[in-house]
């Protein structure tokens, strides 16, 4: 098995497909590989959003804790998805829990490092916007559709 560099792993992730080589070179220094066993808590509501995860393998449940009841799974994320959008939204705190549903392999990007790059190199910030905004918008549309409760009575 050939060990691939962080830059290669970034380049093959769908959300980085449109990033040019120079941008990938810049971002690779912010990234590291991470693994989570099935059942492990990947991030927790209220904690500082100091990382954003790019899922490479395995599935993650985004959960909301409810007092006195089991948490509700609001969304599941899968290879190619992005976990932890709060890295870019002040005050940079996670808005939900995320738990590994299976063994997970991911790249994590240091949020402070990313924000610094985006501030220093506007083209990098714009590349993020172009690549990630559609992903976030698609997830928002899916959430809206689920709010309709289409499969309730009569569905």
């Amino acid at each position: 098995m050939t060990l691939r560099t962080i830059r290669e792993l970034l380049a093959e992730h769908p959300l980085f497909a449109r990033f040019d080589g120079a941008t990938l070179d810049e971002l690779a220094g912010c990234a590291r590989t991470e693994q989570f066993d099935s059942g492990a808590l990947v991030l927790r509501e209220g904690e500082t959003a100091d990382k954003v995860f790019l899922l490479r393998a395995g599935d993650v449940a985004v959960e909301m804790a409810t007092p006195g009841q089991p948490p509700m799974i609001m969304e599941t994320l899968h290879p190619g998805d992005l976990l932890g959008v709060s890295w870019l939204v002040a005050p940079y705190r996670h808005m939900a829990d995320a738990r590994a549903l299976s063994n997970v392999r991911a790249l994590s990007l240091d949020a402070a490092c990313l924000r610094e790059k985006c501030d220093a190199i506007p083209a990098v910030g714009y590349a993020f916007f172009r690549a990630w905004a559609p992903h976030v918008a698609q997830r928002m549309r899916a959430q809206r559709m689920r709010l309709l409760d289409l499969y309730g009575s009569g569905g």
């Binding site: 449940a61 985004v62 948490p71 509700m72 609001m74 599941t76 190619g80 899916a142 559709m145 009569g154």
Partner: protein, 273 residues
């Protein structure tokens, strides 16, 4: 429909009634006398709860004896009466009516069946027919929650037999290891490994779900003339006479319920119909 009296119900008996969840039941029917017309996957019958009313219910298959099966959700007076029926109860049946899924026309193509909620019922016979060819069909099924997945046992059996099955729910409690999200989120893995131009899709579920799914499939490269939707409107006569189910130039009961996407794509965006 066969026969000269499409408005005359055939007296039938419930051969068996199978609960499929809190408000859903599958009735297997047999005629009290004579024989029933077969019916193709995607077609529907008008089921008459005596003294209450008629409802259009799609065929969800035939049992080993060739008796028609209908899976019904209790949403109104008629369907409440139908789902409450037990073996031996009598009801009226007219049909089969309408167009079916063009299963036989998909030879050499990969069939993707996308069902939302009770929409799996009309797709079931098409899936069973297509699954006779190994690897020919993939199934995507979305439900409100894990306990409302329709035909859960059969879905597991299909998956065990090698049919790719992608399940997703709107919300779930811990312990659910499937997806939480919309059926559209299942499309990328369901299409992976297939040339989208060689994929055909059958969609059945709430119209909002079908509209968004057909658009997503089209965007992914599945030809619009290879996507079919099972439309639903208030059907009464079943033979295109009364006009209750008019959908632009079509009557859903006669020209549908299964309609090709490229034929109705523009109409799906019209809010007036």
């Amino acid at each position: 429909m066969d026969g000269a009296a499409p408005m005359l119900p055939v007296r039938c008996r419930v051969a068996s009634a199978q609960a499929e969840g809190a408000d859903v039941a599958t009735l297997t029917l047999e005629p009290v006398a004579g024989a029933l017309s077969g019916g193709a996957p995607g077609q529907f019958n008008m089921l008459y709860a005596f003294g209450i009313g008629e409802a259009a219910i799609s065929l969800s298959g035939h049992d080993e004896a060739g008796r028609p099966m209908h899976t019904i959700r209790a949403v109104g007076a008629t369907t409440r009466a139908l789902t409450a029926m037990e073996a031996g109860a009598e009801l009226g049946l007219r049909g089969p009516f309408g167009t079916g899924w063009p299963v036989a026309d998909q030879a050499g193509r990969h069939l993707l069946a996308v069902a939302g909620g009770l929409g799996l019922a009309p797709l079931r016979p098409a899936i069973l027919a297509a699954a006779a060819q190994p690897g020919a069909v993939s199934v995507v099924h979305g439900a409100r929650s894990p306990d409302t997945l329709l035909y859960a046992g059969e879905l597991s059996a299909w998956a065990a037999e090698g049919t790719p099955v992608y399940l997703t729910v709107d919300h779930a409690a811990p312990g659910w290891t499937g997806r939480v999200g919309t059926v559209i989120g299942c499309l990328p893995p369901a299409l992976a490994g297939h040339d989208p131009a060689a994929v055909s899709a059958f969609l059945c579920g709430p119209e909002v779900m079908m509209r968004a799914t057909a658009q997503a499939l089209s965007d992914a490269g599945v030809p619009p003339d290879r996507i079919w939707l099972s439309m639903e409107r208030n059907m009464k006569c079943g033979i295109g006479l009364c006009g209750h189910c008019q959908y632009g130039p079509d009557f859903i009961c006669r020209d549908g319920p299964v309609l090709r996407y490229d034929r109705i794509a523009a109409r799906l965006t019209l809010r007036e119909i």
